[in-house]
């Protein structure tokens, strides 16, 4: 049985200008010890999904349909108390910006101790000791527990954040773009750290990124999001080798290969769909080089492609879109080579 199972999740934000559908019928699951990567361009709804897992959506956002089963508990409908017990103890959360994720007026140690003492009945001294161990585990000096966040560099802060996320040996760690605000070298270190430490404590990982190479390095499974929908999901080996959605294909070709250098970078022209008024047909239609007449009228469902790979595309159900890639790109000139 999977540890986390998200089913038919719909999430909407209410704004003055109308409602925004940030997640539309999203389903995926994460097994024990599995590392799941969620990719997609900015604004497609990744953070929204991550936040919904711990009921962190802002006041104007709400899950309107679906369920989030975590080890037998539905996180959407369960009561506050149960949810609080699960928070951090079982699921911890590393936020998008390393800079503002820690409370500026308390020391690192204080914040880790707070996390520990909220869930375990241990003495302050004991908790502090553990905080020290954790901080050392992520490669900071022990004394750093007495530092305030502003006294640390971005990388150190994110390390402290990771230490805090590990504090209670959670069964799932959510990391929302854990490296965006950092320089490239630190990014690699931090990713490496998250990767190995998750293994050390036997936890599962749900990592969000818009960089598909991060997923390639870290994850077992990947979900690809586009315009609030999950358009493809499956094990790394299958999705990366045999992508079944044109958007995945585009993403895979959008990052530069080492030989090709910058020249090979491909960007996709066009705008993502308006989430305020989501299209009734295939959401990728506007930008899809494979589109056909039927794509303009119907919305493809996620269908099974192989053992555990699913994708939502009419055309790839029938043809091998990967094999046509070169010709399509050249012929239609829709995807520009930079």
């Amino acid at each position: 049985m999977s540890l986390l199972e998200v089913k038919n999740l719909d999430i909407e934000y209410q704004t003055k200008k109308g409602s925004i559908k940030a997640a539309n019928d999203v389903s995926f699951s994460i097994d024990q010890n599995e590392k799941f990567g969620l990719v997609g361009e900015s604004g497609c709804g990744k953070s929204t999904i991550a936040k919904s897992l711990l009921r962190l959506l802002p006041d104007n956002g709400a899950v309107t349909n679906g369920s989030i089963m975590f080890d037998g508990t539905d996180l959407v409908s369960t009561d506050e108390k149960t949810l609080r017990d699960i928070r951090w103890d079982e699921i911890s959360f590393i936020t998008q910006s390393a800079m503002n994720a820690l409370d500026p007026v308390y020391t690192i140690g204080n914040q880790i101790v707070e996390a520990i003492q909220t869930h375990e009945n241990v003495s302050k001294k004991n908790a502090r000791n553990r905080a020290g161990d954790l901080v050392e585990l992520v490669g900071l000096e022990r004394e750093r527990i007495d530092s305030y966040p502003h006294q640390l560099s971005g990388g150190m802060r994110q390390r402290a954040m990771i230490a805090m996320a590990l504090a209670l040996n959670p069964r799932l760690i959510i990391a929302d773009e854990p490296t965006t605000a950092l320089d490239v070298i630190t990014q690699d270190h931090i990713l490496e750290e998250i990767n190995t430490l998750t293994d050390t404590i036997n936890s599962s990982l749900f990592i969000i990124t818009h960089d598909i190479s991060v997923v390639a390095e870290t994850c077992d499974k990947v979900g690809v999001m586009y315009g609030g929908e999950l358009v493809e999901v499956g094990p790394i080996e299958e999705v990366f080798v045999n992508p079944q959605h044109p958007y995945t294909l585009g993403l895979l070709n959008a990052f530069p290969t080492i030989e090709g250098g910058e020249d090979e970078l491909i960007t996709m022209p066009g705008q993502p769909p308006d989430l305020q008024d989501p299209p009734q047909n295939c959401s990728f239609y506007e930008r899809c080089p494979y589109r056909e007449e039927r794509c303009a009228h119907a919305d493809p469902e996620l269908t099974r492609r192989s053992d555990s790979q699913y994708a939502a595309c009419f055309v790839s159900e029938e043809r091998d879109i990967g094999a046509e890639y070169e010709s399509v790109v050249d012929k239609e000139e829709v995807w520009l080579k930079l």
């Binding site: 934000y13 704004t15 003055k16 104007n60």
Partner: protein
């Protein structure tokens, strides 16, 4: 000869095109500004409380503007009965809707004329505070160095001065009239505007378009006028509006203490007269309540509006 003709023609055409281009960009510019102003207005109006404030303020403005028409009597005219006796401390009635004072003045007429003093005090102070504070704040933030230090020291100084006592001293020295009261209040209140505008300029200074304007050789005046001033304007307006509220309260307070122009009837001086005229002991509630309620309502209207402007300045406050 011919070639010159052609030359002139081309040049004329060129100038014409340039002009039209200019007009176009100017038009675009204006459209952009109008659109922005409309956005700002919409944010303010979307705020119900701000809307109520605008209606209230409009009523006061109308009353102030048409005071001589609205008020049935001169504020300092003694009311008498047919026998020529003074009508002291009359209860509210049809002829005297708010009754009379113990000096036989019509309270309603005094309240109506008092509106003028309050509005003048408020608006003049707002202008001075907005002007002085914004100017000082921009100069301090933009120039940095010694100029900044000097200006900020003066701001610190202004923060250390007890407000009302200073105003009292200044009014004694300069003479008790509305202008001096406004001056005294402004000399203190500009500090807040200056402080806030400066810190905003400090962050604006780092923005890319200032850098590029500088790089393209724009003069400091131009940068300040076209790039900095428009950006600090909402904040400057907000603090000027705050100043209206402070000023009305301060003017009322000073008048209550007796530091006001005795020629002009203001709400504060009405309350002074009421307090000293034993209105309390004689339970003349109709003399005590109207001026105070008017001060409150006018200041409330200003703060309600400022609360809407605050949503323009600080997007966190907007409800999504």
């Amino acid at each position: 000869m011919e070639s010159t003709m052609i030359g002139t023609k081309t040049i004329n055409g060129y100038i014409k095109r340039l002009r039209s281009l200019d007009r176009e960009s100017l038009q675009q510019d204006i459209e952009l500004r109008v659109e922005k102003a409309r956005d700002v207005f919409e944010i303010i109006v979307a705020n119900d409380l701000a809307k109520i404030g605008m209606v209230l303020l409009a009523i006061f403005l109308i009353v102030g503007l048409f005071a001589p028409v609205i008020a049935p009597h001169e504020p300092n005219e003694r009311q008498t009965n047919d026998q020529g006796d003074w009508l002291r401390g009359e209860d509210p009635s049809i002829t005297y809707p708010m009754g009379t004072t113990d000096n036989a003045h019509d309270i309603f007429s005094q309240v109506v004329f008092g509106t003028r003093v309050a509005l003048m005090a408020g608006m003049l102070t707002a202008l001075m505070v907005g002007g002085l504070g914004t100017f000082a704040g921009i100069i301090a933030g933009y120039s940095g160095g010694y100029t900044e230090t000097a200006i900020m020291r003066i701001v610190d100084l202004a923060y250390g001065v007890p407000f009302l006592p200073f105003a009292i001293v200044l009014v004694i020295v300069l003479g008790a009239n509305l202008w001096n009261i406004v001056l005294a209040i402004s000399l203190i209140l500009w500090r807040e505007t200056a402080r806030v505008v400066r810190s905003e300029v400090l962050s604006i200074r780092e923005l890319a378009d200032i850098e590029s304007a500088k790089a393209s050789g724009a003069s400091d005046t131009r940068i300040i006028l076209y790039h900095i001033f428009p950006k600090v304007l909402p904040t400057a307006v907000l603090y000027s509006v705050f100043a209206i509220g402070w000023a009305i309260l301060a003017e009322a307070g000073l008048s209550f203490l007796g530091f006001s122009d005795h020629e002009m009837v203001s709400w504060g001086s009405m309350l002074q007269a009421a307090y000293n005229g034993q209105a309390l002991d004689q339970s003349m509630w109709w003399w005590i309540f109207p001026p105070g309620i008017c001060i409150s309502l006018l200041v409330i209207s200003v703060y309600l509006i400022s609360q809407g402007i605050e949503e323009v300045v600080n997007p966190h406050l907007r409800e999504v």
